[in-house]
């Protein structure tokens, strides 16, 4: 349904890694910038990911319209450099929800887990 909302040709499906990153941005709120997200990813999943890879995904999610970003304020730890803070857009939230609903619906159709699932 929401596919129609996006008029340009950009890919709008959500990959597994993208979905996790999107969720992490939501979790981290005000502190969501590339390095912090990469660290959070590591602590949540146990898998290491480079800042570059994280940044690249953030950039892609922003192009798709699921994220927006703006430069934050300068901090001393970074030699006075500012951070780029990412926040989820309404579209991003909707995509996340649809993705969850879709999976839940699949789980419900899966007979082996049907009982346990409720």
């Amino acid at each position: 349904m929401f596919y129609n909302l996006v008029t340009n040709m950009i890919e709008t499906r959500l990959g597994e890694f993208e979905e996790v990153i999107l969720l992490l941005v939501g979790i981290l709120g005000e502190g969501a910038y590339a390095y912090r997200i990469a660290e959070e990813f590591k602590s949540q999943t146990g898998r290491t990911v480079s800042i570059g890879a994280t940044h690249s995904t953030l950039d892609r999610l922003e192009t798709k319209g699921f994220l927006k970003s703006e430069m934050g304020s300068a901090t001393a730890e970074r030699g006075g450099r500012r951070k780029r803070i990412f926040t989820i857009t309404a579209l991003g939230k909707r995509v996340l929800k649809e993705s969850r609903d879709f999976k839940v619906s699949l789980w419900e159709q899966y007979p082996a887990f049907k009982v346990n699932f409720n």
């Binding site: 910038y33 590339a34 390095y35 990469a38 480079s50 800042i51 570059g52 890879a53 940044h55 690249s56 950039d59 892609r60 430069m71 001393a76 730890e77 970074r78 030699g79 450099r81 500012r82 951070k83 780029r84």
Partner: protein, 889 residues
């Protein structure tokens, strides 16, 4: 406090620089911040080294499309269009140069492609058989006690089956035999007969080792029954047209018996070649060879062994000496020789058989030397064309100088310029490639004649052709374009724009060096072709020791023809215009039929000398004008009666020399062979003559008179020059009356002798054509340069003329430079050529060493050609009116 501590540790500077070199400007701040934060945390938690390495890793992982700075130019097509336009303009401006470049490269590429087709064809032999790399041919080396070594590609019939029985390494074995005496074999069906050049008798396992495709019949069972024959598609078509050939009967008249064979299969014609390709194969070899149990002689069987997949060749080879020792030691010792067995890989047979006897080879041998020669020639011609391109482009570079200046000022990097000029040269080569395709298409039939092949472009080689065409074109374009591109792009923008009269040319030394190289190649090829022609001329005019004029050879292919010979001779003798008739088992220029080792009866077998045995009819020596040194000629029929002992024999001079007998003592001497009770008494000695081609030294020959015509393989008729056509027609008619079942064939003796040098002539033609092309390309280049240099010095020449220089002086001045370069080329080229030609001449036992004059002639030709090339432009410059040249600015 904490902060201060950190200040001492900074991320690796080089990594930071790397990051900035590619990162999008708007990302720099945040990314550097993130990476620094990460770095500091790493420092806190562990070693500095680890932190630095991690920083590097993080930087490298930022090399992603989204983060990389985009190139400034958004639409490069305008630029390409501009490159194209300037390239085309500069070609149109210098039409002569463009023509020389494109045409030269086209010739070079076309040569390369043609020769690549040839080489691919030569290399493709046998490779289509499944498991070809597990099949080997048995070879035999015979070392006689007197020191002569014979290397054969054949073996005794019993060896193959014994090996298959005793060696577990072998999976299968098959044998092939061809009628050694007959170059052609007759096959008959319903009163029509066909002479086929390739007919083999084979073991029933033949198609198991060599899986030919069948149109009709079953390869598994085709040869199981004796009396079966498998035809080639062409032969089946010739005999039966489009009808099925299966189960039809054909007759093969041979000398031993006339066999009726049932057709059990027809082989599909294929582009893939093998030395075993034949017109027909017939079965029953097992039965034919069964009674022959010798381990020492009878080396006439081609034996092919197929190894098991896991078997090792070396291990198998190491078992051969013991086998030979076990079965054949006694026999070999009695014959005074040592016999060693070896293996030759199937795929090597076509090109790598030069070390083996060539007399009875199956199929037509190729030569790896010839393949190398072809490759070298192709590359050389292409190289010469590429050199022209380099020379002319760099010489003309000053014309493009202003363009370079402007491009650099506007902001072109050197890399852009290099790409532009490389692209231009690749473009020109691609243009040349299309012309080359047309050239290949036009010249392929002539090329086929030149290399005696039947090459054509089809599905089997189209992919290869396209691949090689592209590879040749791109490589040439890049190689030829590299130096000019580097050179032109190095111009200093300020200098070329400011200085109007700046003359930029490539360094004189390089250009001269390249020209010298071109002319060295030319002089090598010119003297090469002169030497080859000289030797071929020598070979064809050297007195052979016998008379070949007006002699006609009539092959006696069937037992019918041989047995009817005596009757036919009497008929032919009476025909007007026929001077003499004789016959032989082995006329000069035909392959020998038998040989044996003879020794004087007062010596031992260890001193035996190998002789070719030739049976002759009366008049033989007289009609061929072979001179007698001692003794007498045969008296017929007395000397030719079978069963006389001692049998009368005539030997040649070489025989006496080898056996160490003086000619005056020879007559009356008795010869023996092996343990045979037969004795041969020498009644005469003839002077040496060239029984075989001049590639071979004269070998010992023993002549026997034969009253029994079944030994004869060719008949020879001496006819009058006058009305020779008429005489031949009468002979033909007589033949058809006496020998109706054998087709009439005739060949002039002189032609047959000349055919022995066919492969030499074919090489000579290849060298001749490549020489002409190489010289043409070199001259085109030289001409281009002379145009350029004359133009460049036009003002100088004008001033010199005003000051009183004569036309002659100016001509001298202009041509001297070229001549110096050509002289250097000659000094390099001639010694190389001399060495190479000496190598080639080693192929001939009889050779006329080229005198120095041949090389002087080659040098003279080279100078003449180059002089003529430069003279035109130089003369034009020298004769031009100084007023016009000085006035023009």
């Amino acid at each position: 406090m904490k902060l201060k501590q950190h200040n001492y540790i900074v991320p690796p500077v080089l990594a930071q620089r790397l990051l900035r070199s590619f990162l999008r400007a708007d990302l720099v701040e945040e990314v550097e911040g993130d990476l620094l934060e990460k770095f500091l945390v790493e420092i806190e938690s562990g070693s500095h080294l680890k932190a630095k390495l991690n920083y590097w890793a993080q930087v490298v992982k930022y090399v992603r499309p989204f983060a990389i700075r985009k190139s400034k130019s958004l639409n490069p097509y305008d630029m390409f269009e501009n490159y194209m336009r300037t390239g085309v303009r500069s070609m149109l401006k210098n039409k002569t140069f463009a023509f020389i470049n494109v045409f030269g490269l086209a010739i070079g590429i076309a040569c390369c492609v043609l020769l690549a087709l040839f080489i691919q064809d030569e290399l493709s032999f046998e490779k289509h058989f499944a498991d070809y790399n597990r099949i080997y041919r048995l070879t035999t080396i015979l070392n006689s006690d007197n020191g002569t070594e014979t290397r054969l590609q054949r073996a005794s019939p019993i060896i193959g089956p014994t090996m298959l029985r005793e060696f577990p390494e072998l999976e299968n074995m098959t044998r092939v035999v061809k009628d050694l005496s007959a170059p052609q074999q007759i096959i008959m069906h319903a009163d029509r007969s066909f002479a086929q050049s390739r007919a083999y008798q084979v073991d029933s396992t033949f198609f198991e080792l060599f899986p030919y495709q069948f149109i009709e019949g079953n390869p598994q069972t085709a040869l199981k029954q004796p009396g079966s024959v498998v035809l080639s598609e062409q032969l089946a078509f010739k005999i039966f047209g489009n009808k099925s050939a299966l189960n039809e009967l054909v007759t093969i008249p041979t000398f031993s018996d006339s066999a009726v064979l049932r057709i059990t299969g027809v082989i599909k014609h294929s582009q893939q070649q093998s030395h075993l390709d034949a017109d027909f194969y017939f079965s029953g070899l097992e039965q034919t060879l069964e009674p022959i149990t010798t381990w020492a002689s009878g080396n006439f069987v081609f034996t092919y062994l197929k190894l098991k997949p896991e078997a090792s060749v070396d291990e198998l080879l190491s078992k051969f000496p013991a086998l030979m020792q076990q079965y054949g030691d006694e026999e070999n010792r009695a014959m005074g020789r040592k016999k060693t067995l070896g293996l030759q890989a199937l795929e090597k047979i076509h090109l790598h058989s030069a070390h083996l006897d060539n007399q009875f080879e199956l199929g037509t041998r190729g030569s790896i030397t010839y393949v190398y020669l072809a490759a070298a020639i192709g590359l050389l011609i292409l190289l010469l064309a590429a050199i022209n391109f380099i020379n002319l482009t760099t010489a003309k570079a000053s014309q493009r100088a202003r363009e370079i200046g402007v491009r650099k000022t506007v902001g072109a990097h050197r890399a852009n310029l290099i790409a532009q000029f490389m692209g231009e040269s690749v473009g020109i080569t691609i243009l040349a490639m299309f012309i080359a395709c047309a050239l290949v298409y036009i010249t392929l039939p002539y090329f086929n004649q030149l290399v005696q092949k039947d090459l054509f472009v089809g599905n089997h080689n189209l992919a290869f052709l396209i691949k090689s065409l592209l590879a040749i074109t791109l490589t040439t374009g890049l190689i030829a374009g590299a130096y000019p591109a580097l050179f032109i792009s190095s111009f200093d923008a300020v200098k070329v724009l400011k200085d109007k009269h700046l003359q930029l040319g490539s360094s004189h030394v390089l250009r001269k060096g390249l020209i010298a190289f071109q002319f060295s190649i030319s002089v090598i090829l010119i003297s090469g072709i002169l030497v080859v022609q000289h030797q071929l001329n020598y070979v064809q005019t050297k007195p052979l020791g016998f008379d070949v004029t007006n002699k006609v050879m009539l092959p006696l292919r069937t037992s019918e023809a041989a047995t009817q010979y005596a009757r036919f001779r009497e008929t032919v003798k009476d025909i007007a215009g026929v001077n003499a008739v004789s016959a032989s088992s082995n006329l000069p220029s035909t392959p020998p039929t038998s040989d044996w080792s003879f020794y004087p009866s007062d010596k031992t077998e260890a001193e035996a000398v190998n002789h070719y045995i030739i049976s002759i009819d009366e008049n033989y020596f007289e009609m061929l004008s072979i001179q007698r040194m001692a003794g007498r000629d045969f008296v017929f029929p007395a000397d030719g009666q079978p069963g006389t002992n001692p049998q009368k024999a005539i030997v040649n001079e070489a025989s006496l020399k080898k056996m160490g007998i003086k000619p005056e003592q020879a007559v009356g001497m008795q010869l023996k062979y092996a343990n045979s009770p037969n004795i041969f008494e020498i009644i005469g000695v003839v002077e040496d003559f060239h029984q075989f081609s001049l590639h071979h030294a004269i070998s010992p020959i023993i002549f026997l008179a034969s009253a029994d015509s079944s030994a004869f393989r060719q008949m020879i008729v001496s006819i009058d020059q006058k009305n020779s056509e008429d005489t031949l027609t009468k002979i033909h008619t007589a033949w058809e009356q006496v020998v109706p079942d054998t087709p009439f064939e005739k060949e002039l003796l002189s032609e047959s002798i000349s055919n022995q040098y066919a492969s030499d002539r074919s090489m000579s033609a290849l060298v001749l054509v490549s020489t002409m092309l190489a010289v043409l390309i070199s001259c085109l280049g030289l001409y281009g340069l002379s145009v350029f240099l004359a133009e460049k010095r036009v003002k100088e020449i004008g001033i010199r003329k005003v000051m009183g220089a004569s036309v002659k002086q100016i001509l001298m001045m202009l041509t001297k430079e070229y001549l110096k370069t050509v002289a250097i080329a000659l000094a390099i080229g001639i010694p190389i050529s001399y060495y190479l030609m000496q190598q080639w001449l080693q192929n001939f036992a009889y050779r006329d060493n080229p005198g120095l004059w041949l090389f002087v002639l080659a040098a003279g030709l080279c100078i003449l050609v180059s002089l003529v090339t430069v003279l035109y432009e130089s003369l034009k410059a020298a004769l031009s009116n100084p007023v016009t040249s000085i006035k023009a600015e």
